[in-house]
Symmetry: C2
Subunit: 328 residues, 2 copies
């Protein structure tokens, strides 16, 4: 099958491309390289793979590579969940909601009906009880990221209903892996960067009591592909993660230990959440995807441990980044 | 207080302007007149009232009248819930979600913190049980209208959380009143128009078994103002309607009777919903706003009866439209 992966040069997107190639599909990775990296897709080049540099907000640029495509995996998004005062407030709206609309409209015009979408547990916002089921209560996102991803989900649902599409929506837990972002946007990369700069102390955002679910990128891809094969409703929605959670303080201790450091002073910015719009604690109910026969094979702590180890290996330069190919 | 009403020349918006003027506020009605009408606001002109013709997608046009405003009532939207094949698919996204974003950003820059928003029961989509509470399950809108209004709600929630705003979101039932749209987009106006053209038969969209909740525009305004006075959380969300529903077939019979017709043949386009994206049956749980001390004083059938009567009076030309001033 000819498939297109938006955000195909991202951490999860490039892992997905690799898995789809292994299944024998013709894969087009579409990415504007705003956060994705060419090095993530370089190991994939070969007869079944094509990389298209383009922006989802450019309608014609989206239309062209969709020619002949049967299935779209839409992973492109603004990857920065944080809102930092001074940021533009329309970044998430453009790169999430508006980009998703453009893709949906291009798919409609091309007559492409199948779509998988990377949503996020941030759509739930602050929730009345945990673990969080897919449809147990009305969501109340508190970040622009979560709000605009919810906007994407609802557009996908409307297109599915109006134009006979079929969709799989995945609300990701925190996805981790060795392809860490260099600016330290994710907690593991952030801690490693800070400790390399100053091994005597570690600044932790919030009070360190934030607790979230973690899943390895490679497992995230496996779960998506499993659910697409085994769920066939017009609109299929899944939480995608493991069923436990891990505290940020624990991650800090794990990073310190893995780096062989001692007497590191933990400092805190304070407050429940790590940043404005951070949901301090969430644990997903993943029984729906479990009932399809798929289950994460690592706990949050195991996933984080593997991500720490492989990220450190990568930092040490023992392997060129491009050869790691996102495998934990 | 100086207040701004977007969509202020619409049916509900102009009723709201009138009520706010009666409370002694300085009122600015902001409307691009794409569906609002100048005649709706003409009776309001006086020292406390100002009309600004402008478009919410024009950032500067929004910024200017916000100067000195303390409270914004955001009612502007694409009023056409129906998607008709051939329509542009981005109308709702632009006029609902994007327009709401522009307003929120302008409010943020102006330091205006209080916002009331007209959302819709269409955000719920097809629901697992009725009556529908505000937060009982994850919504699944099936129309572009409902999907993009959910996008608005989630943006408002994120702005509320990130920038310390305070918001009141109202999920409207079907709002009826004498300011019927001439093209017959609403069921009452549609039936009257058709029967005036051909009194021997009436085309009913769907199977006529659709059942929805109806509320008079005047009561909708009263409910909003009551809830704003009596609820003071950072984010307040209310279903706004009565607690019963009415079948489309019954409305057809009521219109026929009110017009003094006999032997009208009912014809049906067929199917559960009236159009693609129509939610065929919904009944709202309005206990949350009831508990604040407000309750619709008319049932759905009473509201529809009043709307039919006043619309027919208006059609008969016995009163100039501008003098009706939206009073049922």
């Amino acid at each position: 099958m000819r498939v297109l992966v938006t955000g195909g040069a991202g951490c999860i997107g490039s892992d997905l491309c690799e898995a789809l190639l292994a299944e024998g599909h013709q894969v087009i990775a579409f990415d504007n390289l705003s956060s994705g990296k060419r090095e993530h897709v370089e190991p994939l080049f070969g007869p079944g793979f094509e990389f298209v540099e383009g922006d989802l907000l450019d309608f014609d640029a989206v239309m062209r590579p969709l020619d002949g495509v049967e299935f779209v995996y839409h992973l492109a998004a603004n990857p920065d969940v944080k809102y930092t005062p001074g940021d533009a407030t329309d970044k998430d709206l453009s790169q999430n909601t508006f980009a998703t609309y453009t893709l949906l409209e291009a798919m409609r015009r091309r007559g492409i009906q199948k779509l998988a979408f990377s949503s996020t547990s941030a759509v739930y916002g602050v929730v009345p009880r945990m673990p969080i089921p897919e449809d147990g209560f009305f969501p109340q996102p508190i970040s622009l990221y979560g709000a605009t991803k919810l906007g994407c989900e609802s557009l996908i649902g409307a297109f599915q209903n109006l134009f006979g599409m079929q969709s799989w929506i995945f609300r990701f837990a925190n996805i981790v892996g060795p392809k860490v972002r260099s600016k330290g946007r994710t907690v593991i990369g952030d801690f490693i960067h800070r400790l390399k700069e100053d091994p005597s102390r570690l600044l932790i955002l919030g009070d360190g009591r934030q607790a979230k679910s973690y899943l390895l990128s490679r497992e995230c891809v496996e779960g998506m592909l499993w659910a697409i094969r085994h769920a066939n409703a017009p609109l299929n929605i899944f939480n995608l993660g493991c069923d436990d959670w891990l505290e940020v303080n624990e991650i800090a201790r794990m990073v310190v230990e893995a780096m062989g450091l001692r007497n590191v002073r933990f400092e805190y910015t304070g407050g429940e959440g790590g940043w404005p719009g951070d949901v301090p604690r969430f644990r997903l109910d993943v029984s729906r995807i479990n009932q399809l026969g798929w289950r994460a094979s690592h706990s949050s702590a195991e996933a984080v441990a593997i991500a720490i180890r492989t990220t450190l290996e990568r930092f040490s330069g023992s392997q060129p980044a491009s050869e790691l190919a996102c495998r934990p």
